[in-house]
Amino acid sequence: MYSRILAGGRTGPHSLPLARIKKIMKKSGDNVNMISGEAPIVFSKACELLIEELTRRSWMVAMQRKRRTLHKEDVVSAVIATDIFDFLVNLVSEDSTTPIDLTPVEREKLEF
C-alpha cells in the first residue's frame, strides 16, 4: 500500500494520527463540510514541518539562555520572533504567566 512506500520517517507512514487531524479540521469552522482522504495526509506532513521549525527556533532561544532543557518560554519567544507564527501569538500569551519581556539577566534568574 502507499503507506509503506511513502514511509521515510522513523515513526511509520504518518507520525501523526490522521483521524485526530480530521477531527480538528472539522472543528475549525462552521463552513467546513467534507474533507477528502488526502487532506489529513497533507496536514500530517505540514504539522511535522511546523513542529520541526518551531522546535528548532525554540532551541536557539534556549541555547542563548544557556540551557539544555527546552521550556515553554522558549517556545513563546520563538513564536513572537517569527512573522509567520503571528497567528499563534495570542494563543501562547493568553494563559502565560511567563513574562516575555524580561531582560536576559532577569530571564537567567528564573532558571533553576
Binding site: I5, I24, N33, E38, A39, F43, A46, L49
Partner: protein, 129 residues
C-alpha cells in the same frame, strides 16, 4: 430548606467529576497526542537535551491552532468556488497563501507521490479482480 441560590463554589460533587472527565476527553480530542508531538520535537534536538512537559503542551496547542488556521482558509476557498470537499490541493494553496510557502513545495511533492501510489494501488487491485 433548600437554598435556591447556590453559591458559585457550592456544587454537586458527582456532577463535577463527570464534567471534569468529559472536559478531559474533549480537550484530548482537540489536540494531537503529546507522545507523537514530543517524538517529532526530540528528533530535531541534539541528544541529551530535554523538553519540559509544558513546552510539549504548548507545541500541541500550536499545532491544533495551525490546523484550524489553515483549514479555515482552505474551506473558505472551497466555499467561494462552491465546492463541498476540501482536498489536498486546497490545503497546499492555503499553506502558500498564509506564508508557509516553504512547506508548500515539499507538500505538493508529498501529495503527488501519494496520488501516484494511490492510483498504482487502484490499478493493481483492478487487475487482480
Amino acid at each position: 430548606m433548600e437554598d435556591i441560590n447556590m453559591a458559585a463554589g457550592a456544587s454537586n460533587a458527582h456532577d463535577d467529576d463527570d464534567d471534569d472527565h468529559d472536559n478531559y476527553i474533549r480537550e484530548q480530542e482537540r489536540l494531537l497526542p503529546i507522545a507523537n508531538v514530543g517524538r517529532i520535537m526530540k528528533q530535531i534536538l541534539p541528544p541529551n537535551t530535554k523538553i519540559s512537559k509544558e513546552a510539549k503542551e504548548t507545541m500541541q496547542d500550536c499545532v491544533s491552532e495551525f490546523i484550524s488556521f489553515v483549514t479555515c482558509e482552505a474551506s473558505e476557498k472551497c466555499r467561494k468556488e462552491r465546492r463541498k470537499t476540501v482536498n489536498g490541493d486546497d490545503v497546499c494553496w492555503a499553506l502558500e497563501t498564509l506564508g508557509f510557502d516553504e512547506y508548500a513545495g515539499p507538500m505538493k511533492r508529498y501529495l503527488h507521490r501519494y496520488r501516484e501510489h494511490d492510483q498504482a494501488d487502484h490499478r493493481a487491485n483492478q487487475e487482480k479482480g
